[in-house]
Symmetry: C2
Subunit: 255 residues, 2 copies
C-alpha cells in the first residue's frame, strides 16, 4: 500500500470560452467546456478551478474608482509605489496584518488564509478597473459544484478551488487549495509504518495543495484555462474543507 | 501564449525494485525501472527523483549509534521526547537555527534550504538504525543524471530532485525542488500582459516546485516509487538550479 494512487495520473486542461461574469453559472460553463474538449467527467476525478473565475461568477469584484483609501493606505502607496486602493481593499478583507515590509502586506484573510494583500488581485480582470477579491466561501462553492455535477452527470468527483500564494524562504508562487469538497485534503501517515517497520510519526501530506500545484501546470496565468480535470489520483473520499489546510495558531511556529 | 504547456500533462510512476545502496548507480537503476514499466524517456520529459534515493546512492547516511549528542541536544530530546541523535545531526547539518519550539527545529541547511531538522530523516531508511541526510549537492546529481540520460538515450530531459518540506501557516508537507537541471525553475511573468492588457508586475511562478508536487501524487511515502516521469509540460530549457528557488535574505520578510 502506498500513497493512494500509484498508477498514472493525467491532467486535462479545461479551456473556457469567453468571459466569466457576475451571475454566470460557472458549473454550466465548465460542463460545456468539458464537452467541447471531449472530456467526460468520471467517478473519482478531481476538478480544480482557479479561484478567480469563482470570484467573478460570484461578483466578488470591486470597482477601484469607488475605493476611498485611508490616509494610512495612501501613505503606504506613495512610499512604495503601490496602488493605495488595493492596499485599502487588502486591509478591509483582512483579519490581521501578519507582516508589512517594502510595499508587501502579508495578511490573514477573514477565512484564515495567510497571503499577500488578502488575495486582492487586479490581474486577469479587466485591465485595472476592477479588483477581484477571494470568494466569500470557497468550500461552499466547491460543494455546490460537486453536487451539481453529481446531479447532472451522476458521477462522484472531488472539487478544489485554488489560488496562487507566495511563501516564506522560497521564491515564486505555488498553487494552494482554498476550497475543497468530496475529498480529505490531508493524508495522515502517523501511526503507519514504512516498509522497514519504522513508525511514521511526523508525516502528514497536504495532497489537496499538491493537486492544486499539479493543476497549476496546465491552468495558465495568461491562457484562459481556469480549470482542469485530474484523473488517476486515488484520494480518500469524504467531507473536506480548505480550512483543514490552515494550521491552527497554537501549532504554528510563525505566529 | 499561456503558461508553457497547456496540453494534457501525464505523470508516470517509476517503481524501482529492491533497495538503493551506497555506491549504486541510480541512473542505471532508473533506466532499468523505466524499461520494466515500458516507458521510453522522450525529449522534453521531466524526471523527478525523491531526494532520499539520491542520498542513499551517495552514501549520505549516518549510523545513529555512532552519533554522540551534545548536552544541549540531549536536553532538547528529553524535554520533547525526540531522538537527541537526530537533533544533533540536524544541528550539524545546519548553518543557522531559524525557529525552535515544541521539539521542532527549523533550520537553514548548508545549501540554504529552510526546513525541519535540516532534512535529516529516519523514515524509509532501515527501521531506525541509520538517518539519511540531504544530498550534498542535489543540482550536481540532477546535472549528472541528465547528462547520463542524454548520453545513453540521446534525449534532452530536465531532472528535479525533490524533498517534502513543511511550511508556515499551512498544515501538511508538500514537495519542493531541491535540485534542478535542464530547465528554468521559475517562470517570470513580470513585464508581460494579461489578456486585458494589464501588466503582470508581481507574478513569478515556482514551476519546479509545482512539478515536484505533481510528482508527489505518484511517488509515495510508503510505496517504493522514488521517481516519476512528467510528460507534456513545456518548460523553458536552460541551466537551472534548486538554489534559484531560495529567496535571498534581503527580499525575505521572514528572516
Amino acid at each position: 500500500m502506498g500513497k493512494r494512487g500509484s498508477g498514472e495520473v493525467r491532467i486535462f486542461p479545461l479551456p473556457v470560452d469567453g468571459e466569466i461574469r457576475p451571475g454566470d453559472s460557472l458549473g454550466a460553463k465548465l460542463l460545456t467546456a468539458a464537452k467541447s474538449a471531449q472530456l467526460r467527467l468520471q467517478d473519482g476525478d478531481i476538478l480544480v478551478v482557479k479561484h478567480k473565475v469563482v470570484s467573478k461568477a460570484e461578483g466578488a469584484l470591486v470597482a477601484l474608482d469607488e475605493v476611498r483609501p485611508s490616509a494610512w493606505s495612501r501613505a503606504w502607496g506613495r512610499r512604495f509605489g503601490v496602488d493605495a486602493r488595493v492596499t485599502e481593499l487588502a486591509l478591509r478583507e483582512s483579519r490581521r496584518v501578519v507582516r508589512r515590509k517594502r510595499g508587501v502586506l502579508i495578511t490573514e484573510t477573514r477565512h484564515g488564509f495567510v497571503c499577500a494583500n488578502s488575495g486582492v488581485d487586479v490581474s486577469n480582470v479587466d485591465g485595472g478597473r476592477h479588483a477581484v477579491l477571494l470568494p466569500g466561501d470557497p468550500d461552499r462553492f466547491a460543494g455546490r459544484l460537486r453536487a451539481e455535477i453529481k446531479k447532472k452527470l451522476g458521477v462522484e468527483i472531488a472539487v478544489i478551488v485554488s489560488d496562487s500564494f507566495g511563501r516564506p524562504w522560497r521564491e515564486g508562487l505555488t498553487e494552494v487549495a482554498i476550497g475543497v469538497a468530496g475529498m480529505r485534503p490531508l493524508i495522515d501517515y502517523r501511526g503507519r509504518h514504512d516498509p522497514y517497520g519504522y513508525s511514521l510519526h511526523a508525516t502528514v501530506d497536504a495532497v489537496a495543495d499538491e493537486l492544486a500545484c499539479a493543476a497549476g501546470l496546465v491552468c495558465g496565468k495568461l491562457a484562459g484555462t481556469p480549470a482542469c480535470i485530474i484523473r488517476g489520483f486515488v484520494y480518500r473520499r469524504g467531507n473536506g474543507s480548505g480550512r483543514e489546510l490552515i494550521r491552527p495558531a497554537k501549532y504554528d511556529l510563525f505566529r
